[in-house]
């Protein structure tokens, strides 16, 4: 429940942050303008154009997922004009022609005479920007009165190559892991055999290749078996099942196999607690210690969802292994330090 509330609050921040993005042209330019395409004379990607009776200012902006054309248009005609966003043509180095496609946000828009509008149009793929020197943008402008179509053209020149401006990656990741035991060693075996692993993690990638994250995980049903010496203190009839919870931080390294497949390695410290998860024994059975965790996951981006905010959300599936080392964990005076490993399968999403 707590995690559910946290997620709602967390995502509400994004909703607020995205509200009115199109209107705040200053914020878009300050935060997202493509540095590699800025001209030295103006320190800007700006292209000011006048054609078809309209005045236009065009910029190249982009975040970690998409590059976009930001365009402000003032209609100086005596009649409304319609800008057909989905028909805008992007020509890379005079060779490769691309259209935005019919995504959310790429809708036609009508500009009344004397009025202005600001629109953003996604480029199809960030990697189209790799190693190109020139980008030509052709915007069809349809005049409602005389039913003619005219084109407004702008040519952008690249100043320098910046990798992040042609490489799309997710910066935020949420995942739920479920799995089971692979093995235990050391004194930890005294606790018995677990039957399940459930984990939740939230990762923030600062660069395409690395990030930082937070993990909450729980392992259930370490049962009181005859071989579990730790439970000799219990009377006959006592039922004891333990639950281990882990809360930790992790450093992540991400390796790209292709657009849709990545391998992720995580390493980090955490805090581990062990407690009784049944009601029939009310003794003081609790312990906690620091722990070290590492994880290797294979991720598959199996679906991409387009959001109304012009962003995309990736749905992911994954599988991998987790290894925990718990030095100094004690319960009821018994040392439980040792190693344990779990297999996991993962479902999650990324922005």
């Amino acid at each position: 429940m707590r995690m559910f509330i946290f997620l709602i609050l967390f995502f509400s921040q994004f909703t607020w942050a995205n509200t009115g993005t199109d209107k705040n042209i200053y914020r878009e330019l300050k935060d997202f303008e493509l540095d590699g395409w800025k001209q030295v004379e103006t320190s800007s990607t700006i292209k000011l154009e006048s054609a078809c009776g309209v005045e236009a200012e065009l910029y190249l902006v982009g975040n970690h997922r998409h590059n976009r054309l930001l365009m402000g248009i003032t209609n100086g005609n005596q009649s409304p004009v319609i800008i057909r966003n989905s028909d805008i043509k992007f020509i890379f180095d005079g060779k490769k022609e691309r259209f935005p496609g019919y995504q959310f946000g790429n809708l036609d828009h009508r500009v009344l005479e004397g009025w202005w509008s600001i629109q953003q149009v996604n480029f199809p793929k960030k990697k189209d920007f790799k190693d190109v020197k020139e980008l030509e943008v052709i915007i069809p402008v349809y005049n409602e009165k005389d039913r003619s179509t005219c084109s407004l053209t702008a040519r952008f020149l690249k100043h320098k190559e910046i990798k992040s401006e042609s490489f799309s990656y997710s910066a935020i990741e949420f995942a739920i892991d479920v799995g089971g035991e692979l093995g235990q060693s050391g004194n930890f075996k005294k606790l018995g055999d677990p039957s399940g692993y459930v984990g939740f993690e939230m990762n923030f990638f600062i660069r395409p290749e690395w990030g930082l994250g937070m993990v909450y995980a729980s392992e259930h049903n370490f049962k009181n078996t005859p071989s579990s010496k730790i439970f000799n203190r219990f009377r006959r009839g006592d039922d004891y099942e333990a639950r281990v919870t882990y809360l930790g931080f992790q450093y992540l390294r991400r390796f790209y196999l292709s657009d849709n497949f990545t391998i992720q390695y995580a390493l980090g410290p955490g805090f581990q607690t062990i407690e009784n998860s049944t009601d029939t024994y009310n003794g003081d059975i609790e312990g906690s210690s620091l722990a070290l965790s590492q994880k290797l996951i294979f991720n598959w981006r199996y679906h991409q969802v387009y959001l109304p905010s012009r962003e995309t959300l990736d749905l992911i599936l994954g599988a991998g292994v987790i290894h925990h080392y718990t030095p100094g964990l004690k319960i009821a005076g018994v040392n439980l330090d040792g190693h344990r490993s779990n297999w996991i399968v993962r479902v999650g999403f990324q922005f």
Partner: protein, 151 residues
């Protein structure tokens, strides 16, 4: 403690206010120049001890097929009935007087230090007017100053 952490995003969200818009985005065509104020911060005004420090960047394109001479020395800011000189220059060359080639795009930075001590702006809000001459004609943008800016 954990619950308090959960509340933090909510508190941060509720405590933020919608910013006051001082300057509206406008793309203008004046005297065959295309001018935009898209790089002007819509709400923030830099505060210094003597008063607000006013900055207004513009992007300009010469739409004519010939080169033109620009003299920005007569730029001013009109607050109420008070005409205050505005120091404008080409952001790249730092020159106040310069030539622009046909279809050249250039950036202009206009700025001036306003003074709280004069007291005359502390009564009302003012819709100030920024006036920048571009070869015989002027481009004008409105800017909202609040009473609080001068206190």
């Amino acid at each position: 403690m954990f619950k308090l952490l959960l509340l933090f995003p909510l508190l941060a969200g509720c405590s933020s206010q919608l910013p006051m818009v001082r300057s509206e985005y406008q793309l203008l065509r004046v005297n065959d120049f295309l001018i935009t104020n898209s790089y002007v911060h819509p709400s923030e005004l830099e505060e210094k001890s003597e008063g607000p420090f006013f900055k207004y960047p513009l992007m300009v394109k010469n739409l004519k097929k010939n080169s033109r001479h620009i003299d920005l020395s007569e730029s001013f800011l009109m607050i109420g009935l008070r005409k205050i000189p505005l120091h404008c220059h080409n952001s790249h060359s730092k020159k106040v007087k310069f030539s622009v080639a046909s279809e050249e795009t250039f950036s202009v930075m206009c700025q001036t230090q306003l003074n709280n001590a004069e007291g005359m702006f502390q009564v009302s809000d003012y819709k100030a007017l920024i006036d920048v001459p571009l070869e015989g004609e002027s481009v004008q943008y409105a800017y909202l100053f609040r009473v609080e800016d001068f206190q």
